[in-house]
Symmetry: C2
Subunit: 157 residues, 2 copies
């Protein structure tokens, strides 16, 4: 079995565990560094009452904890399904080298998940989304952005 | 001061705290239900080594914990900046009634954050993104999706 197949199989096994143990939806993920799994995650939305507890988010948080960093440079992510926009955003912020996925967003939509719907909504202007979004300009909020720009001891991410 | 202004001011104060206490980037968020703040969050990416610890994600997780649910039906979200795609995805999964935001994604890009770049990447086909993404079909992953579809005691979200 190739290493890629081995890591994907582990991600898929985590997705099986998620549903067999009623922890959440059928999604699993592993993070690999230097040819070894350094973190695992499976969906725990319904068991932990956390809508952000998707497999990728759980695995990324665990990997960062284990590596003591907020960046996954040099890491590979194997996930049993194409990341939803939330997880894809989390992946961009974590900055791994590559993402491997098995099932697709269409497969996820076909079994009742909102991934495809959210993908449609993201590029829409905030004022035109199905979710009501309202821009309230705030001078103090703008000032704090300026303070960040001018801050000399900031840690960028 | 209107209630909207009051809640946004609280979100902005959290963004100030985030940078003054070196917890993370200049972002704050509150979740409101029945006219009261039920959860607060500020960015803690760099202080908690968690790339997912954006203000909205922190506030949503806290709100769900406090409400003992994985859904924010009937809630309003006030955030000091337009949500990045990760946070927007988290918001769609949490399903609040409305989102109010102050600074925009362009304002965030202007002070060095990747929000606008990630917004550009999300609608691109996975095979064409700047981040390398590889589709590895896996029969077992497909089987587990089918098992979820057929599962009679599942909790949908």
């Amino acid at each position: 079995m190739s290493k890629q197949k081995e890591f994907m199989t582990e991600a898929v096994e985590l997705s099986r565990k998620a549903i067999e143990q009623n922890e959440g939806g059928p999604f699993g993920c592993v993070v690999v560094k230097d040819g070894k799994i350094i973190a695992r995650g499976n969906n725990k939305v319904t068991s932990s009452n956390d809508p952000t507890a998707h497999a990728e988010v759980v695995a990324i948080r665990e990997a960062c904890k284990n590596l003591d960093t907020f960046q996954l440079t040099g890491c590979e992510i194997y996930t049993s399904c194409e990341p939803c926009p939330m997880c894809l955003g989390a992946i961009y912020w974590a900055r791994p080298d590559v993402v491997y996925f098995a099932n697709t967003r269409k497969d996820a939509a076909d079994i009742g998940f909102d991934d495809a719907f959210i993908y449609e909504e993201i590029p829409v202007d905030p004022s035109a989304r199905k979710l009501k979004m309202v821009h309230l300009h705030d001078d103090a909020a703008a000032e704090i952005f300026k303070a960040w720009k001018d801050k000399t001891d900031k840690i960028e991410y």
